[in-house]
Symmetry: C2
Subunit: 253 residues, 2 copies
DNA sequence: GCTGTTATGCGTAGACCATACGCAGAACTA
DNA sequence: TAGTTCTGCGTATGGTCTACGCATAACAGC
């Protein structure tokens, strides 16, 4: 088995190396007619317009007026293109926290920034991620998140865990809301009618003696009202930050 | 646009209705040679053995000694089959909490049960879920989770939010660990060497002045040691439950 | 300026995939 | 026995990714 490593560590796909600016063009051969950034931009444009499912190599090539196979001179595989799309799709990190903000304010802003990106580009949630982040902007987001916790007494590992916790939460929450939106579009139902319809469906399916707690929830009308979706987001985020706060206090003591 | 609803609410795909036992076989015509459960079992067997990517209609049909198109008499589409695979793959819910346990013990057990399932069947994480749960066992898990919170003063909506928070966390955590496992297999690296290799890679890429906080984390050796993976899981779960606990106390006051 | 080397653009083709459609035959009802 | 309805599934369509190889363009060294 060919281990994908060399002396200086694991080997990066060429296109990722060029994203870090580690690759100069060889002086020989014809001048390239495209560039990796141009391809990634085109792919992002397709995803923005028609969703991730519409992103095929031939569609992206058409967007650029090029032939399908021409792309493979720039990206090693579709998966590689997807990785670059994620990096570009997230965009630049929200920047370091305001020095006068406490960690909680900073992380809240950080979480909202990701929330906002995922709301605008829900296709990011559909990209099957295949490992920890190694692209420049992704690591930029991480850096900015870590800085929010600079003033706390948490260990470095704990800081990382907290970030993972929060970004995971944001992604998860965004996944759920985007599913509702996509589901309502697919079923031809008003988005606001989606959860009530779901509630009625479940109410019709379940036997109240077998599912008493669930039945009680439905009876309370939990799914019937369409409250502001951001409320749900804020609720979970506050729970998590409460939990982190407890830890921060314990470490500071 | 054809709205997928009728008088009694949204229409369920036929195969899902049969999972709820709402469908009797019409008396005419030849007797079916297969059954939906047999097909789902075969598909789960394929996924267990070779991963979700190996689950194609033809592969499942081969597993059953049937022709590809024969499956479409039982399931409406591959997506429908995937939904049933998830239901079957999760298996029966962990059961209601022990009456003498407090809510926190109960939810911890509930979270571990899902954690365990996802560790054994990581392909469940790769199934693109397309909406809120409507299959019997999925709702069974929900019911059992809700019951853990029965004794608390939380509102019904809050209980639901707490469950979503926890299941989201468990899925997210499982996704990360399974990515490490799959990544190490793909790169031909020992699983224990995966995170250290990642750490070295990032250390080589980043400029310490542009990424000071990240650099500090790496210097602290956060990624170098391979601590018990369950520790990471417990850490996040405890943070979340701490946050929930704060809310429970506030509501009880 | 010529030649060898190397990269590029991309056409062809192969190996998959999901699934629409339609037909032959089985099992029931009347 | 005739009619109806459902099953199994063969064929075919249109899509996917990508391995391979060829013609050509641009440079390096002589």
């Amino acid at each position: 088995m060919a281990a994908k490593t060399n002396d200086s560590g694991p080997v990066l796909p060429p296109a990722i190396e060029s994203a870090w600016g580690l690759r100069e063009r060889p002086p020989k051969g014809p001048r390239p007619g495209m560039s990796v950034p141009a391809i990634v931009d085109a792919a992002v444009r397709v995803a923005d317009a028609d969703g991730l499912a519409a992103v095929s190599m031939s569609r992206v090539a058409k967007e650029l007026g090029a032939a399908t196979m021409a792309l493979y001179r720039y990206v090693g595989s579709k998966d590689e293109l997807l990785m670059l799309m994620v990096d570009s799709g997230y965009g630049p990190s929200p920047g370091p926290p305001d020095p006068q903000d406490d960690w909680r304010t900073g992380l809240t802003r950080w979480a909202w920034a990701e929330h906002e990106v995922l709301r605008r580009r829900s296709w990011l949630l559909h990209v099957p991620i295949s490992g920890p982040p190694i692209t420049p902007q992704q690591l930029g987001w991480m850096e900015d998140g870590l800085r929010c916790l600079d003033g706390t007494a948490l260990g470095e590992g704990e800081k990382m865990s907290v970030l993972l916790l929060i970004t995971g939460y944001v992604r998860n929450e965004a996944t759920l809301t985007s599913q509702i939106a996509e589901g309502s579009r697919a079923a031809g139902v008003e988005p606001a009618e989606m959860m009530p319809a779901y509630g009625r469906l479940v109410a019709r399916l379940i036997d109240p003696t077998r599912f008493p707690a669930l039945h009680r929830v439905l009876n309370a009308g939990v799914l019937s009202q369409d409250d502001h979706p951001d409320d749900e987001f804020v609720f979970g985020l506050d729970r998590i930050l409460d939990g982190v706060e407890a830890l921060v206090h314990r470490r500071a003591a």
